[in-house]
Amino acid sequence: MSELDAFRHEVRLWLDAHCPAPMRELTRGEEDIVWGGRRWAFRSEAERVWLERMAERGFTVPTWPKAYGGAGLSRDEERVLREEMARIGARSPLESFGIWMLGPALLKFGNEAQKREHLPRIARGEIRWCQGYSEPNAGSDLASLQTRAEDRGDHWVVNGQKVWTSYADQADWIFCLVRTDPAAPKHRGISFVLFDMATPGVSTRPIRLISGKSPFCETFFDDVRVPKENLVGELNRGWDIAKYLLTHEREMIGGGAGGLLGTRPIGEVVAELAGSDGEGISDPLLRADVMRAEIDTLAFALTMDRLRDEAAGGQGIGARSAMLKYYGTELNKRRTELMLRAAGSDGLEWEGERSGGGRLARDWLRAKGNSIEGGTSEVMLGIIAKAILELPGA
């Protein structure tokens, strides 16, 4: 038995023994996700126990070093863990921006004290993080951000505004890009800092989207005092961390292919919505568009597989994450358009039980944002043109 097989055997036994039965049920989506944080209220004892047990083993962040709350697993071991969890249908014990974003950034750019302070709390779900990047005037051109941190000796005073801060109203801490040298070229005056959202002067306001409520917030900083030791990496070098995280985020969105992953085939969904009774979709334009979307979706799913396989071969995915992000989100927009067309007037209801609270219409509207958030389609095409195709600048 190889080492990996031994690991698998051990994990299987452990999971069987420790995953509570309710945590092996299918999630119903958003409402079953555990985000953690100071104010987190577990919805069941099973949820609490499951997180506690997994965190104790380091399995909430399996590849992180043990010293920081992880399990120190190799990529292969992590894959085995995921497979074994999937085998029994075990839910994820914890999801968070800390795990996805800040953790990788701290592991790469943080100092020892920062790692010891923040990583274990992320791993145990004690602190919930949000991400302070975009500003009203800094969208695609993120590096033009204006939130300022003024040097006051042992601390900074931060003033400014962030937008699109997901769950800012429920987060405990924020990792944030601020301008620490307004005189420097725009990429050279940015720093990456962390601070407690409970600091005086921080306030948030939820953003209502065209699709309705959203986790997004505007976040305001009014003379917020941030200790100097909360700087990650070098002063005025925050853009390096930002770029690292942007690429990381794009790969995550791309890897999930803009939400397409694991969805049912569009042809099947549309046939069901249109009530075709197995006789095929009768509307000729809808049918044609669905046929094309089905082909593109299938071929795109194969492309995700291929890139993953190539990455496993050590070639990495690199700038091609921009392709996944672009293609996947554009496909998802097509998908929701087709679903809405098939559903006709039924799909245009906005409230009420019959329409699941206007689910189809809201999904359709929400999907329009996929090709904007995390870097617009235009930005992705620009990255492809420059980083992959090596086309010249203007």
Binding site: S134, P136, N137, G139, S140, D141, S144, V163, W164, I207, R208, L209, I210, A274, G275, D283, P284, L285, L286, K333, L340, R341, A343, G344, S345, D346, G347, L348, E349, W350, E351, G352, G358, A361, W364, L365, K368, G369, S371, I372, E373, T376, S377, E378, L381
Partner: protein, 378 residues
């Protein structure tokens, strides 16, 4: 001549001025946020009546302007620009056409002056399933006493909530799918056996689901020949579709204008985003599409004025093309506005929502493309 007459041009200007003043997008927003039961402003409706717009398709002897479908379309186009909510298409266009062309003298005298005066709101109930399919009407009208007994369901009935009457397409004979056997009846909104379930739609306006359970109508409530009203229904639908096409053209024009404004003023990377060539080319393409859709809308309106019963082909062209172009225009508007376009705080999303409902109502682009293909025999 595919241009506006002088009178039409004056009407368009007047409508644009009045609506931007009295029914800007903020009015729709306020109605929505107040969860207004009607979804439109009675004051606005009265004002439109005072301007004569509700009587635009009603003969002068019944108090109307008799100004024609082209004129009605111009009002709709301008309503599209400001997203003015009103029962204009259902009442002033479709119901007025139905009663004018299919009603007896008594019905005309009863309803047309009331519509013209803004005193009556009448909805038109055709659809029974998720997709538009007039010939598919299944709601049964069975001879009973001195009239008919109506049983069945209707869906997507715009403006039925708060209406005084509802014109209901029913089947007195034939089978669903056949043109033969269709009839239209004016049903009192308070009739016994009629249940009106209000449904809030994505555009913050109402559509109702109707249940008719033994609703009794008189023979005199019929519009057009009993069992042979399909042609009348097509004329009524044609008038409504032309109005919707014009409204969508207005939506496309206005959301494009707002997008152009944003492209000029929003700065990223030290330059207005409208200076980026990729966006310029997409904007230029969209401009062409909008111009092409405008021509189709104009031709459809003129065709109705030439022959209200024989304009189906050009009206379908207008509805299909304007629908597709409005879809493109609002999609590009949201994408080019970026994140801000996704927020409820700006109006672009409201245009996207209304365009979607107007596109679906009385047949989506597929429906009309299919009609065109059949009429062209391919």
């Amino acid at each position: 001549m595919l241009t506006l007459t002088e009178e039409q041009g004056m009407l368009q200007e007047a409508a644009r001025g009045f609506l931007s003043e009295s029914a800007p997008v903020s009015q729709l927003r306020a109605l929505r946020d107040a969860r207004d039961e009607l979804g439109y402003s009675r004051d606005l409706w009265r004002a439109m009546a005072e301007l004569g717009w509700t009587g635009i398709l009603i003969p002068e002897e019944h108090g109307g302007l008799d100004f024609g479908h082209m004129g009605a379309g111009l009002v709709c186009q301008e309503m599209g620009r400001t997203l003015a909510a009103s029962p204009y298409i259902s009442t002033a266009i479709m119901a007025a056409t139905a009663i004018r062309r299919g009603g007896g003298p008594g019905q005309q005298a009863r309803w047309l002056p009331a519509i013209a005066a803004g005193e009556a709101v009448i909805a038109v109930a055709v659809d029974e399933a998720r997709k538009h399919d007039p010939a598919g009407t299944a709601l049964r009208a069975q001879a009973s006493c001195n009239g008919f007994r109506l049983d069945g369901h209707k869906t997507f009935v715009a403006d039925a909530v708060g209406a005084d009457a509802i014109i209901v397409a029913a089947r007195t004979g034939g089978e669903p799918g056949e043109a033969e056997g269709l009839s239209l009846f004016v049903v009192d909104a308070r009739a016994q056996g009629l249940d009106i379930e209000r449904t809030l739609m994505v555009d913050s306006r109402n559509a109702a689901r109707l249940t008719l359970d033994g609703v009794q109508v008189d023979e005199a409530d019929a519009l057009g020949p009993v069992g042979g009203a399909f042609e009348l229904l097509e004329t009524v639908l044609g008038a409504g579709r032309a109005g919707l096409a014009a409204e969508m053209s207005g939506i496309a024009q206005e959301s494009f204008a707002r997008t152009l404004g944003y492209l000029r003023e929003r700065t990223q990377f030290g330059r207005p985003i409208g200076s980026f060539q990729a966006l310029q080319h997409r904007a230029a393409h969209l401009y062409c599409e909008i111009e092409v859709a405008k021509s189709a809308v104009l031709a459809g309106g003129q065709a109705l004025d030439r022959d209200p019963t024989g304009a189906g082909f050009l009206v379908s062209l207008a509805k299909a093309k304007a629908g597709e172009v409005a879809r493109l225009a609002v999609a590009e508007a949201v994408q080019m506005h970026g994140g801000i376009g996704m927020t409820d705080a700006v109006d672009i999303g409201l245009f996207m929502k209304r365009a979607r409902v107007a596109g679906e109502w009385l047949g989506d682009a597929s429906f009309h493309a299919g009609r065109i293909a059949r009429l062209r025999c391919f």
